[in-house]
Symmetry: D2
Subunit: 341 residues, 4 copies
């Protein structure tokens, strides 16, 4: 049974394990003040072309989001997210648990438009309602789509006008950066957002996300926040060494590229076999449409998510490829699909 | 420069790295529902002789404490801790950040006595004050001392009478379990506490603590709490595989034993050289007393903490040994001390 | 300029002021443990035909809601409300500020249907999402409509099946109880809900709401919660004496009846003059539809809310009558409307 | 049975009831935006000689403290208070419930010294500990003592140096302002603190405290915080009208003066009868020392608190006088004491 359910089914990319092994007995400071953390941060600053950003490594995406947002916002300030935004629906109310309302907007393709933000602002006009203060977006989105540089620039413009923060959840940023459809680089992200995180867990790391704080006013005392929320790891080296591997010789983008290529190949073959896709994806998540009978047959050999009903007889399913997906896995799926056809 | 500052200066015990490497490409479910998590929990249940305990793996100790306590307590309920308790002083108000007051009691040796708990209960007698509900202790304590089975049994008895929870922070539980002075086994801990955690980070793991919930009423919906606080790792396998290694063939206790043996040897030699110790320790932390001039000389070659002033001319310092400390490190320290004598 | 904006534009009903004055120099215990609080609670128990309910007096409705919900729920548990629910939209995220997500359902008439609750439960099926635990409804609703006994019984049935709490915001409960369209009595409310509050501020009191806790498991330590949230008043007598007046000789329902009668008269006349109403109301809020030009003319002499756009040329406005509204106020409005017609 | 237990045993000063009655049927805006709130704020600004302060009326002292402190502090920031500070011990963890640790310092006379603040700052030196950010003091203190202008100026100086806020709980500020021993005026308080509240509940109001925010950076969006915490009253007029009465013709200080005079007389007579006092008080709380037998006899006719044990045979008791205490009450107590002597 091979799983296309997600991009965190395996351990770490071998380069990462190798780096962990090679450095294993070197003593290092605790709590992110070690040489590896400093060096990894330095590589990320370089990749962002930004000597002045702050970098903090945390264990997971929910943690990155909750520490950042609870640090950036005053108690009455709220977050704008899509209805499908990870923080709105799939983090067990982590943001609300830190006291902040998340205001949802609907978006079939997972992207927030400036007009939607404006509408939320107009609706929330006085002190009996929360004050929208931060726009939360994901790149790629939960639907596998990508913001274009034009779209993100428009959001940034509105945020500047309205004194809002723009925060980017980059759980699968590797896939975005490596996508042929993408025109937003790390330096662009640095310039257009107040903070974002570079996801490691879903792109080859054992665990770990690099939270990047771009805006000076948000940097102060952030390590206090990390410690208070349980996000500061005693062996900060563990995430740092992994990001060192990922940002040396561009491994981070290469892994994203591989995952995208596998997903693209899978999508192409599926389409060639006559099936629809919900969106034509250029990232590592694809959303083909299969009849119930085909799905039941596939489920005997492969693991994947049923995403949503498409029509009376068909479902959209989600297939994810990763740095660890190999041609043979893609081929096996396609062969099975052919056999069923 | 060798560091005796802590027991998390290196990566992981080689057995653990090996296990991570060997399992690396095996696909597994996410979020702690994988085969490794199930098997590791099973080994811990066996070690605790308790088929009915719940086990959850989290990334660090502050996280273990804050998820557990915020899950166990209603909003007005408070925690009793020593003034030196990790949650009271060194977690940046993590427990208060979840809404709960921590009520301190003073204890020179780091242990809470039943009479101190009773005094807190008597003082907090009505609804204008928080309601003490959970006693937080550490085994070993922050001072490196150990609760005896008699002492913990007495606390448990009081907690039963007064309807309090007893929670044990086991950041260095490996050292406690392996100590010759210890008479509290894992099955005892299971029987005497409502919940405790088995610390991995400070006993050979890259990261990870195993939180054990013993009391049925505290088990419900705990995974919701994990997710909400950012403590549920996508690759739950990472901590689970490490605990598998630690609880197979008793590695966990063996590592504690090694660390204790190194610390004991260091303590013996230091005492033989005519120096005092603040406490005679039987765990992996020792607290010798050195004059300022000796400390300054040692600091040129070794890293360690100045713990507190002892008298006008002397300090207590803290030296910690770990699974990675070798005879040569101990010898080098003792040789230097001799040279200075 | 007469205001139909709300039912809290004046001070208190004269009977209440009289009672405050007459008791003024009687010494009483603080913090709700005085004779007046005990007697007022007793009257409310009688009115609910429930000797076993707990009654707590608080200063306002947002306070009642936030103390109750934060006391009743564990951290991962969430509330279901309509999109127009006061807690969802008009309390500045008070519930989220205590850590709990509010899950909205859409309802044009302000009422939640069991099928909507079921849909939310089905969607929130695992620990990556909050756990819906409490259904929040208002009687009358924010739209001035009323739940029937059948409707509330159906909700109660579902809540029992699904282990949910049912909480009723009774900010304008006086108007509901006094409405000719109403078939839910206080004993019904006691039987059908886990907790509710009887609104005083909008029905003749200077301030104050009586929070009624029906379900035994929710009663424990509630006074701790009141104190912690700043809701326990030193002079608990102040709200208690007002509720004594309101529940002696049925003043509470009489004031609701008067407000409804004034609103009903106003609605009738408006309809007679040929204007539409959005809903035909039987409580003290009415929702007539006027063209922009009429509204602008009315606004010169009366204060009221523009509720929402009705069509290109018309708005729904909200007019509220209270215990203090007199025939002359209603007549003046109707006369002005005639004059404009 | 006459009660000297506290200064909130009666309703309101008759002038206040009169004002509430006279204004009762005047319609006013809700939520503190009415003419009375504006005028009362204006009177307080005048009394503070400060046209630029913000004034918010809330229902009680715990509420004032928790809204202010949770608005002023970031999540990792902590409060310094005495062990006897109302927020530390008698508000059921209200500040911790908003996420902030309260760091206690010991003080026999209820006052914090700059050196104590400095010691806390030195101890809390890095991000594993909370960051002290606000010094909470009470004027008069919980022990009935008063800060001198010199003492408060010294604290202010330190707060300026260390970038701390200074907040003053003025639950009994009327008694302080009216005390012959006091040299801190309202304009001084405005100048020396970042925020403070003027207590109404304990000085003649039915309920209500006026929170004064002096520092510009703390003013922003404060009404959002009020609403979110349930502190914004629909009939804001109710507290405003009371403060109008209190600040017209200096009633606020006059009531404090009366209470102090009654307490002073009681203290003098008690001392004349040969009893000790714990502190010689110049406010409306006195702390005489009586033997157990005398206390038991007094308790048959009067209500008051046993404050603490004094020695084997004697207790300190607390007697409080208020605006409502009359000569006859004082005389009755003294007569009884004489009879017992």
């Amino acid at each position: 049974m091979y799983s296309f359910k997600n991009d965190y089914s395996e351990g770490a990319h071998p380069e990462i394990l190798k780096a962990l092994t090679e450095t294993n007995l070197i003593q290092a400071e605790g709590y992110g003040e070690d040489r590896f953390s400093i060096e990894a941060a330095s590589l990320i600053r370089e990749a962002c072309a930004a000597p002045d950003i702050d970098i903090h490594f945390v264990a997971g995406g929910t943690m990155a989001n909750l520490v950042a947002l609870s640090s950036f916002l005053r108690p009455h300030e709220a977050v704008i997210s899509t209805l499908a935004g990870h923080i709105y629906v799939h983090e067990t109310g982590a943001i609300e648990a830190t006291g902040h309302k998340v205001l949802p907007v609907d978006s079939p393709d997972g992207k927030i438009r400036p007009a939607q933000v404006t509408a939320v602002l107009e609706e929330h006009h006085f002190e009996h309602m929360v004050k929208p203060k931060l726009v939360y977006i994901s790149q790629p989105t939960e639907n596998g789509t990508l913001y274009s540089k034009g779209e993100m620039t428009a959001l940034r413009g509105l945020c500047d006008e309205e004194d809002l923060f723009l925060y980017v959840d980059g759980a699968r940023l590797g896939s975005a950066l490596a996508s042929e459809a993408n025109d937003i680089s790390l330096p662009d992200l640095k310039r257009l957002s107040d903070a974002f995180y570079i996801g490691g867990t879903k792109n080859g790391a054992l665990l770990g996300e690099a939270l990047v704080i771009c805006t000076d006013s948000l940097k102060k005392d952030f390590r206090y926040m990390l410690k208070q929320k349980g996000a500061m790891m005693a062996k900060g080296r563990v995430t740092a060494i992994q990001f060192l591997s990922l940002f040396k010789e561009d491994l981070y983008v290469k892994l994203g590229f591989h995952a995208n290529r596998m997903a693209g190949k899978l999508q192409d073959r599926i389409v060639q076999l006559g099936y629809d896709v919900q969106f034509s994806s250029s990232t590592n998540q694809i959303f083909p449409v299969f009849p119930e009978s085909v799905i039941q047959a596939l489920e005997r050999k492969f693991d994947f998510y049923r995403w949503c009903k498409y029509d009376a007889e068909r479902w959209v399913v989600r297939l994810i490829c990763s740095w660890a997906t190999m041609d043979e896995h893609v081929n096996a799926f396609v062969d099975e699909l052919k056999r069923l056809g």
